[in-house]
Symmetry: C2
Subunit: 244 residues, 2 copies
């Protein structure tokens, strides 16, 4: 038995997220179908995380066990020939049999893209969230410093997953302006359900002036989801890298 | 009667091009339907050009005559509320009654985007053409200099439109590298059918080494379509600006 690790890029627009479901098409299902087509056997694929419907990935990681004799690096080309055009294997490699894409992950980097301006975008609209209100970038940067570090992020999680602890460490938040786009780059050791999207939603409340930057401290302390900002739409979110 | 000029952004992926057709959904049709919804009257819209199925625009221009009393600048918001998410009016303004979006155009700027690399892209795949072979950028730049200026571009046009002359003036060709993307920026006084896509296809033949840069001179002189490169796919092409 061999353990194959895959790094995947996907456009999540037309999928109900990563995880297999009974009544909706998911990325996990498409990858498992491609593995079955290539190896002739069914393998369950273990993903580094669940991504929601509409969320994209440039460096999603998953692994699967197989008895196939196909050289690990050949899986990339073989799987890509069976996958639809919105899913691409970037890398395939053999890893130790004990490797587990979810349990062994020590961190992830996400990017959330906002586009501002007078009009909603037509081109690229599936990859960015249109936000028409003026944003104070410096205030958002000040607020983001309070989110850095180790905190109980209960106020920044939506119901939907059962986890033992809501304590996580955010190692980096960068807010980058690029023309009329604003990118939020968030790196941490792990993320609660919708946590990145709620962090961005909260920073937007700071950017518009509804929240003062320091209010983020109160939100964290409160552990009360209703205090934080809205969860911004899925289409602006992209999982860029998973660390092991 | 008033004449309204519209500047439009659209994602051409799901349309059979600009021009109205009987059996396919086009951008012209969507814009005319939105005008009818806003004004209550049918207006024919005159486009600056036909764009093919799958071609995008950031600055397409069209105009229409109307008896509506709606202030010109209000058309933008009104039409956008009726248009689908892949078509956006960027600007609406009143122009002289004699203004004609096609006949008065004195030039256009197009951009063609190629992505290189080991794997086809999933994210953004509708906006770029994946080309996996190595390209010699400097040779493509040398070749592009022969295309600059006024020539008979008969070798660079596909059958499909009747025009009086095949003489056009190309004022600018810039080839810009941006990570693993290559953008071809082409500006000219007018373009024959598929001309930008055939220019890019010909430059790619130079980039891979199949054509020498100087061979472009022979292609132009031959006026023979079969001598030039292939017409590259529509999805990489975007009409950026129309000049008046």
């Amino acid at each position: 038995m061999r353990n194959i690790k895959l790094t995947i890029e996907y456009d999540g627009t037309n999928y109900a997220g990563w995880q297999r479901q009974n009544n909706a098409v998911t990325i996990q299902q498409k990858v498992e179908e491609a593995i079955r087509d290539v190896t002739g056997k069914v393998s369950e694929v273990i993903g580094s995380s669940r991504t929601d419907s509409g969320v994209h990935a440039k460096g999603f990681v998953c692994n699967f066990l197989t008895e196939s004799k196909i050289p690990a690096e050949k899986f990339k080309k073989a799987l890509n020939s069976f996958l639809p055009e919105d899913i691409v294997i970037l890398q395939s490699e053999e890893v130790e049999i004990s490797f587990h894409a979810r349990f062994n992950s020590i961190g992830k980097r996400y990017e959330y893209t906002i586009i501002t301006g007078d009009q909603r975008p037509a081109i690229g609209r599936n990859y960015m969230y249109y936000f028409y209100r003026k944003l104070d970038i410096e205030n958002m940067r000040s607020a983001s410093k309070y989110i850095l570090g180790t905190h109980d992020f209960s106020a920044f999680k939506n119901a939907g997953s059962s986890v033992k602890t809501s304590v996580r460490t955010i190692k980096e938040i960068n807010i980058v302006e690029d023309g009329n786009m604003i990118r939020f780059i968030v790196m941490g050791d792990g993320f609660l359900y919708n946590m990145v999207r709620i962090i961005v939603g909260t920073l937007l409340e700071v950017g518009t002036g509804r929240f003062k930057p320091e209010y983020v401290v109160d939100i964290l302390k409160s552990k009360d989801r209703s205090k934080a900002g809205k969860s911004v739409p899925a289409n602006g979110l992209c999982l860029k890298e998973v660390f092991y």
